[in-house]
């Protein structure tokens, strides 16, 4: 579970993987496994949330890190690098960008749940 809000002390990675439909589930599994075995032990890790597109052509990791420096340190971690290499072999393109949340809105009946 993760919360999206403008007042959280996090930086957000939205990483969009383009895949063939045959590889989609395998990539989603690999990202989940990388999170559970490597990423969530690294300093500054907050959350990872793996999404599979209904059309079969994308996998998105919506991940939160405490600071940009924590994300950059992850990129230099040898175990994380090994997982990222495996993921890149399953995808035809990878579009990682870091974001800040600038606006959120929620339906009233959902907020009241």
């Amino acid at each position: 579970m993760a919360t999206i809000a403008t007042d959280q002390d996090v930086v957000t990675l939205v990483n969009v993987f383009t895949v063939s439909p045959e590889q989609q589930q395998r990539l989603a599994d690999l990202l989940a496994e990388a999170t559970a075995s490597v990423m969530n032990r690294l300093p500054g890790y907050v959350s990872a949330n793996i999404h599979r597109s209904l059309d079969g052509t994308r996998v998105v990791n919506y991940a939160q890190w405490r600071r940009v420096e924590d994300f950059e340190a992850m990129l230099r971690d040898p175990d994380a690098q090994e997982h990222m290499r495996s993921a890149s072999k399953l995808a035809t393109s990878i579009e990682p960008h870091l974001y800040e949340v600038v606006f959120t809105d929620q339906a009233k009946e959902v907020a009241a749940e």
Copy 2:
């Protein structure tokens, strides 16, 4: 605010807009305004969450709808269409896909907050 979880009854739109850095804030403002004035009155709307990439080149809308049919009805709404046309004029490319959440993980100290 929004919650990402595997057990929610929602479909997720991740819409990635590629922009020039000069247009990024304008597009983020336009999407926020479209949410507040049109989208959040439509049936099945759950949440919209606008993100600005730190490198200036992307805007992401992470939005939740109750069902695929609600999202498709929004695409046919004349007021929503007008906002989408304005947004497309500010972006060099738009990559909307619908997703399901298949895995989430959160740092223990965050979950306990």
